[in-house]
Subunit: 634 residues, 2 copies
Amino acid sequence: MIKIALGQFEVQPGRPDLNTEKMLSMIAEAKEKRADIVVFPEMAIPGYLLGDMWEQRAFLEDCEYHGELIIQASINLCIIFGNVAMDWNKRNNDGRVRKYNAFFTAHNGKLLCNPKSPYPFVIKTLQPNYREFDDTRHFYSLQKLSRETSIAIESLLQPIQLNLSKQILNIGCLLCEDGWSDDYSIAPIEVLHHSHPIDLFINISSSPYTLGKNNKRNRVFSKQAQSTSTPLIYVNTTGIQNNGKTLYTFDGSSTVYNTTGDVIAYCEPYKEKLVIVDIDLEKNATPPIKVPEENDIVSIYHALHYGVKKFLRNIHMKKVVIGVSGGIDSAVAAALYTKILGPENILLVNMPSIYNSKTTKDLSYQLAKNLKCNYIIAPIQEVVDYTIKQIQETPITSYITGEQSNLTVSSFAAENIQARDRSARILAGIAASYGGGFTCNANKSETTVGYSTLYGDQSGFLAALADLWKYQVYELADYLNKEIYKQEIIPQATIDIVPSAELSHNQAVDEGNGDPIKYPYHDYLFRSFMEHWNRATPQDILEWYQAGILEDKLGCDPGLVAKYFPTTQEFITDLERWWNLYSGMAIAKRIQAPPILAISRRAYGFDHREAQNGPYYTAKYKKLKSGLLAESLV
Amino acid sequence: MIKIALGQFEVQPGRPDLNTEKMLSMIAEAKEKRADIVVFPEMAIPGYLLGDMWEQRAFLEDCEYHGELIIQASINLCIIFGNVAMDWNKRNNDGRVRKYNAFFTAHNGKLLCNPKSPYPFVIKTLQPNYREFDDTRHFYSLQKLSRETSIAIESLLQPIQLNLSKQILNIGCLLCEDGWSDDYSIAPIEVLHHSHPIDLFINISSSPYTLGKNNKRNRVFSKQAQSTSTPLIYVNTTGIQNNGKTLYTFDGSSTVYNTTGDVIAYCEPYKEKLVIVDIDLEKNATPPIKVPEENDIVSIYHALHYGVKKFLRNIHMKKVVIGVSGGIDSAVAAALYTKILGPENILLVNMPSIYNSKTTKDLSYQLAKNLKCNYIIAPIQEVVDYTIKQIQETPITSYITGEQSNLTVSSFAAENIQARDRSARILAGIAASYGGGFTCNANKSETTVGYSTLYGDQSGFLAALADLWKYQVYELADYLNKEIYKQEIIPQATIDIVPSAELSHNQAVDEGNGDPIKYPYHDYLFRSFMEHWNRATPQDILEWYQAGILEDKLGCDPGLVAKYFPTTQEFITDLERWWNLYSGMAIAKRIQAPPILAISRRAYGFDHREAQNGPYYTAKYKKLKSGLLAESLV
């Protein structure tokens, strides 16, 4: 029996001091509980998503220094932890000092080594460089080291031998992506399994939550344990980390799989807790337990609640201002933030103009009352009128001709003036005086096509809902009412009303007029542009349309395309309208958007690299289009 | 004699259609001029900085299709060009289809191959993944292919044999970074040189301009030609490309080096032109020419002018609105944009409050007159007063207690209200009515520490000057007056006045009060935080301070530290103040900042990855600090 402590804890990115403090206290607890080994996550000391902080020599030295403190604490306890490992005498390909993403095994004050490796630590073999991951920018991989030193990967990838008094343990050491090798030409787990006797695999990870990932990980890792007949321990970090533009929650969910691939221990998601597990290497003595399957809306709410709460703590924000319109997005934001900070720390602001209906004004008020928040009504009409008048009546002098002229404010420009007046004038001003920040309530559908005003409703310190499609916002509203508040906190009428910006008479909700986005179809169309692993473009959409398989490919309800677009021309006009926005003006807006909390497999920001290059239509698309249009005229 | 046409042209990123059209017309010209070979840049067909557009199957097919058109055009002319190359049957490490950054050599309708390679194109060996480069995210390198196929790199890296009627030519094919191998464990040029007879090296590149790079490239490439006694042809693209947050100019500057490393042909920077050069492989018959050394301020102005001009064209912006304060940054922006669009398309807006001096108001007016721009004075005081009153006098109702309360607007909050009123209310409103965008005039010093207001002066469609330190803005002002306009277009008083935001009585310029940033020192301190290849942190700064070498390390004038900070305590307070801002609030602001035009070796944005993690001080820094403070008390 080996007693293993799973050191799942909230890693604070960029804070070796705090992380070391936490690890030392968990180490003390593990010793007290007579554990043989304590396992901490990948990059437990520095944190993982640090931008280019890896280029600060002083920071790297500090990580080494704190790593040394952990090593010294390993008397009578084997401590496994992730840290950046330095070779100060070598260079990375960028000319900066050599850095490895490394797996350290400390025992009785010393690091255990593979005698074939030049270093007393194990180096990550597979370094992800897709999605939000940037490993190759900073860390030198085992594969590169193998080429540089001409030492075969098989020699560099050997188990670490741990000599416990009762037995000798061969540990197969893996770092996160090393366990996700399907698309690489090398599979570390197989190299280890085939070349050496392994008693135990340990995968230390720093793996962000995204929707559906845990279910997949359980399938993949369970299969690895089973096919190698070797127990596998997965330890992941909790907390939040960010890439600037995108904020990730780390759910922990550390898990132990036995030799038949069954789960025998499991840390609750997002919980910081030392879980102790006894592993019997000969026979699977520890009984399996059942890991709950991930439910979409439950896990989305969990991630949102945890992510926003931790982010507010990190930026020392204790109060929040939310503009509420009576619509669904702001209502969901209000319900979420109120649950996190308490109603006494939330100020809801309704900012009516002449275009806001009594219906939505009443719904805002109702929401504030239901949530017991602070509430203020700050109308915008006077300043909006003043602004339009000022722009139209202040003369422009040309110093070429000496002549004077005046500008005219279009109705479209006037809509944006309203949106900016709300956010940049009122919300920002109120937030500064209230001592907090104001939220951006945009959803993912709006964010996709830039259906928002820059410096207006697109502003805020965080866009917590911007990785949720509109249909997910509705699901969340239901979930908040039914499961979290267990009462109709978000008025049903807010859920039922047509979504509208109410910026002009054309968007009157009482007449059923609202957004130009037809969410039941466009949510799915937009998703195909950006979330599909092989991203759809107008060419794909048209091919699917022609083949009659579009709704199936998009995943939306059947019949919608015919309903919304009676003719091919209408279908194509709609497609190009949104494609032009998605790959045009919306990019300019996203560049200046607030940070987004990631939920899906792909959020806007660091995992959706984009250039302001304008929309493109392929030669094949143009041909398809003219063919289809010619056909439809027949 | 081989006649080679250098196809330096303006690659439009994400537009295979337009790029192919341009290449076909240059091919026709090359044939007319009886060239043997025409050489186009790396990624000539798709463009290089495309974000994740590489994940669109339809786009990749389109690149292949257009590449085919170029191959077909190679009758009686060898065409060398860069394109993405596909292997539809293989996968990248992210599971998506296999993509290579490839060098194509087409002759008489066919691709020339290295018989040892599985593909009829040459694959980039070294893929940069530092600075703004993202190659490893999308492209599979020759090194990975070598491992996957077990074909030695030496076999994969062979010259392409071109059979011209008059002679056979062995071409050593290089893609951009392949020629910058100092920090890699493999040097493609040496592998080629040592393993095979090479008649000619051709390096096709897509290499952005940054300050000082051309001088360095001339040293490095000249040495390569000389040490291998082989002519080297470097062809680079012109145009602009962007990573969303950062905009890069590509200056072309294609160059031919002879066997002694001398330059024998050279394309002017930023010029799209087919340059023909005769190369004598046996004897260096073509006489060397002199390439002008790069002058800093000249090349900065050139890059700014070119970059802004092309960006305006790309986003179809023909008119620009600029808020002018009478200060240096907005004056330089006005002079730059006026040169690009003509004064008839520029609207300068002065937005005085009660804090703006007659001095600066007069300077704004003087600037508009000098430039012959359109000019408007739009005061902000009334709405600022209204906003403060509205925030203070509108009651907040608490729905917990039912009580009402009121907010108070602090003087700091009132400063930001002014800044937002100018940008989000007036400039944005005027720009929409004028039919253009408004500029962000921030410099790099302000951007470093977030000395700006979000949704206020930090807003705009482009921050053209945000990669210039304040001292460079002054240099540019001088250069604009003396060399570009050849008259005092920017009033000398604007250059001489103390820089100030004029947002309160404490910032009265006529009393010599202004910004808290002491530019002659802080410009250089901030630069050490972000531009130094090994980035400085408070620990380094304090070590240098203690050793008395700080000014030397930073590169600022000697004596400044003692002048500004008589005591160690003052020095440390100042250091921590700016470090806290740089790694704290300024990151939140930069996340929502406009795109920045890159000039320096490191601009904010895509080449300065950062996470909103808050400031950090290492254990060693804390020790140093307490030691120094204790000492200073003795």
